[in-house]
């Protein structure tokens, strides 16, 4: 097995490319859904100690709306779509056409819950299908799980698989942003955290040697 510490720059570049393709599709899907232009920042691949993972997204105690997917198939992993509460509210108001959506109603209303879960579903689905096209690996997301909670509590849960073999996580992070002409709105994180065994699978299938 290859652990995060053993990955070279070359390996990270390949993961970045996977993130790039996946997120490109996801951004297109999100723009179609919201009928506005969504820009995608270049994905980053980070090797980070666990306690820094949560700081990456805005500090342990920051409360955010997170949709979690368990990815199953040839290269399993965990996937998160994370919005700040303001972003989640903006998106939900547009998607549901209900200007009354607020912090309280995100979790309590079935309608807003499912709108947010469905957004995640579309993004995860398009991300993973392009990932599958690129690698030939078969991957599918679970149903979406939504929570609004401290980002540290949410993300540490996603680190469990990796924590069994390492104190570091490899995170393929893509930020989706509103088109440059627009002021407010989307600035979300789309995270993919492959399980430890999955790296080997991904590199093998792409014909990339593990020990460069």
């Amino acid at each position: 097995m290859i652990t995060p510490e053993q990955l070279t720059e070359y390996h990270k570049d390949i993961l970045k490319e996977i993130g790039n393709i996946g997120a490109g599709n996801a951004a297109t899907a999100l723009s179609e859904l919201m009928q506005k232009s969504i820009d995608m920042a270049l994905p980053t691949v980070k090797l980070v100690p666990f306690h820094e993972v949560v700081q990456m997204i805005g500090g342990e105690e920051t409360v955010m709306a997170a949709t979690f997917f368990r990815v199953t198939g040839d290269a399993p992993g965990n996937m998160f779509l994370i919005f700040t509460l303001d972003e989640a509210i903006t998106i939900l108001r547009e998607l549901t056409g209900d200007p009354e959506v607020d912090e309280e109603s995100i979790l309590s209303s079935e309608m807003t819950r499912s709108a947010l879960q469905e957004t995640g579903n579309i993004l995860a689905g398009s991300y993973l299908s392009s990932f599958s096209d690129f690698t030939g690996l078969n991957l599918s997301p679970s149903v979406p799980f939504l929570t609004i909670d401290m980002v540290g509590a949410v993300l540490s849960f996603g680190l469990m698989e990796m924590s069994q073999v390492s104190d570091y996580a490899i995170i393929i992070d893509t930020q989706l942003k509103n088109g440059s002409s627009e002021q407010s709105g989307v600035d979300s994180h789309f995270l993919f955290l492959p399980d430890p065994d999955s790296f080997q699978k991904i590199f093998q299938t792409l014909g990339v040697p593990l020990n460069e």
Binding site: F50, H51, F68, I148, D149, A153, V154, F157, E161
Partner: protein
Amino acid sequence: MNKIMQTVNVKISDYQITKAPNRLKTTGLGSCVGIVIFEPGAQVAGMAHVMLPSSELSGDMTFNLAKYADTALPAMVTELVQHFGIQHNRLKAKIAGGAQMFQFTGKSEALRVGPRNITAVKDILQTLSIPVLAEDVGGQNGRTIEFDIENSNLMIRTIHKGMTTI
């Protein structure tokens, strides 16, 4: 002269020991469990933020002791006894965390880690003969906890639920 109170932050997979009037704090406990071990009145306490129940899960030969319940707690107790002169039989514990952040119905054991962490922590404390004086565990929400060594109060902030003290 007044002593200056500091808050000692315990990171994920970490434990810290400090003396009053300092406080111990750890943020964003999800499925992880926060354990405070202290001697009432002794003005010293330790707090651990463990991620996983057992070091047997470790694929590695060398690992961070503070990550696993079964290695973090004995290490912390040994340090309390050897470096701070606390008598083992006077130690007490308070615990919080171990949430099930997502109501997951799949097969992965790793994703059910919250409840497994709680069980492991309680078993290990029992093995160490340390009584659990109070607990706030399980549920579906993240917690931030802060321990006031001077009065042995553990303050817990839970999203959507507010503050409680145990």
